[in-house]
Amino acid sequence: MLEFVRRNRVLLSSGFFLLCSLGLLSANARQPGRIDPLGHVFLELMSPFQRLTAGIGGVTRGLFDRYIFLVGTEAENARLKARIRDLEQRGTHQSETELMNRRLKRLLALERKLPTTAVAATVTARDASVWFQSLTLDKGEVDGIRVGMPVIAPEGVVGLISSTSLHASRVLLLTDPNSGIDVLVQRTRVRGILSGLLEHGTTLKYVKRNDDVQVGDRIIASGLDGVFPKGLPVGRVTSVSRKDRGLFLYAEVTPQADASRLEEVLVAFPSGEALRKPAVATDAAASGPPDPAALGLYGPPAPAARGAKRSAGR
């Protein structure tokens, strides 16, 4: 018996781990929450290194883009090179600062107009595989971030917080095949569930074949899932197909917020629940309800519900 176990130890241990992973899969498919005993430990351990690597990566990319390819020019004209480098450094720094300033201003404007308080976070890493869509943020539980909180950008809905550690958190993007949010077609108020696709992009589900949905229609959050404030822009319909059979039509939607280019986002607290209420948000709260038109919101804002829960669609 012992000899059998010793000879087949790799097969037996592989079988054991296959059963473990299938058990994890089954448990996660059945439960609405995420069953992940070690995930937050990995997230917390890797987060500082990811931040560091992302920073080094940016600097290296900048060096390659701006200096390494100018080696020939340097050889030809050393005097001019020093000046060009100096000017480029200044110019790059200036335009980078200007761009960041513009992005942060837009975030601030969004934060002021939200019906609840929010915390700004920086994107430090992206999903580890091409199959799924998620981001890692530099804010975690110590900043008040909890699983299920909505993540938004000035352009619109980004996704939901799917897991957290003390100083980092992960966002499940709305383009992930496992995400789903309750949405409305703005023009016709037709309801549906927006869900991600394995091959990137999103699709509008559970809309009846004869409902009025057209290419170019704007999709907004319905607010009925109790997570995203009503009226937040989500995306635009880019194709609609009605097959000969079946109850529902198939519509592809391009998200308004391009997650691949996001650098800063807002994580919104459920109303009344803010660990560190920012001053600007306090001012905004005192000045009355948000103005959807100024914000780019479509439709009247609804009060954000407590206890953000995972959206439908699964």
């Binding site: 994890l24 899969l25 890797m46 690597t53 595989s129 394995l198």
Partner: protein, 180 residues
């Protein structure tokens, strides 16, 4: 031509085993770090070379023990922590890849770079199939198009192309840390 591989190597000491475990843990963390940051930026996230998969194939080829299987499972679990929302999906896929590579390498002589490249290519395809199968079985993912197959093939080719580099680096680092 295939040769039956037989080995009767003496059992390694606990110190050597710990060194090997630490080496693979560092390699896995570095691979994940690159996958989630630098490599993502190079391709805009459309195709990411799966370095963790290459590590799993390496384990399947050279680590025929319980540690190898555990490593593959943990690498998959690590990926699950930084990818998607379904815990266990990559753990399952990586364990399947490890098991198949282990079974193949027990029957065929696999101690050269070309066979490593081939194994990584098929391992990547196998991982894709395992993920899609698990998604279909557990989460009823509908509408799979040609785009999925194209992404799968591109990912496999990219991983295979990087194999000599990664295997070379692993071999070099292993020799440096005193591994066999």
């Amino acid at each position: 031509m295939s040769l039956l591989q037989t080995s009767h190597a003496p059992a390694p000491s606990i110190g050597a085993e710990l060194r090997t475990a630490g080496f693979y843990a560092l390699a896995g963390a570095l691979a994940l770090l690159l996958q989630t940051t630098v490599l993502h930026g190079l391709t805009d996230g459309r195709i990411i070379p799966d370095l963790v998969l290459i590590l799993c194939v390496y384990l399947g080829l050279y680590e025929h023990n319980i540690g190898g299987a555990t490593g593959a499972f943990l690498f998959g679990y690590l990926l699950d922590s930084f990818s998607g929302s379904v815990v266990g999906l990559h753990a399952f896929a990586m364990t399947v890849v490890y098991l198949v590579v282990y079974l193949v390498s027990r029957r065929l002589w696999m101690d050269n770079t070309v066979s490593g490249v081939v194994m990584v290519f098929f391992g990547s395809l196998l991982k894709g199939v395992a993920i899609v199968a698990a998604l279909a079985a557990y989460l009823a993912i509908d509408r799979m198009s040609l785009g999925v197959a194209q992404a799968l093939l591109a990912e496999a080719l990219l991983a295979a192309a990087l194999t000599p580099l990664v295997f070379g680096a692993l071999g070099w680092a292993k020799r440096l840390t005193g591994g066999n």
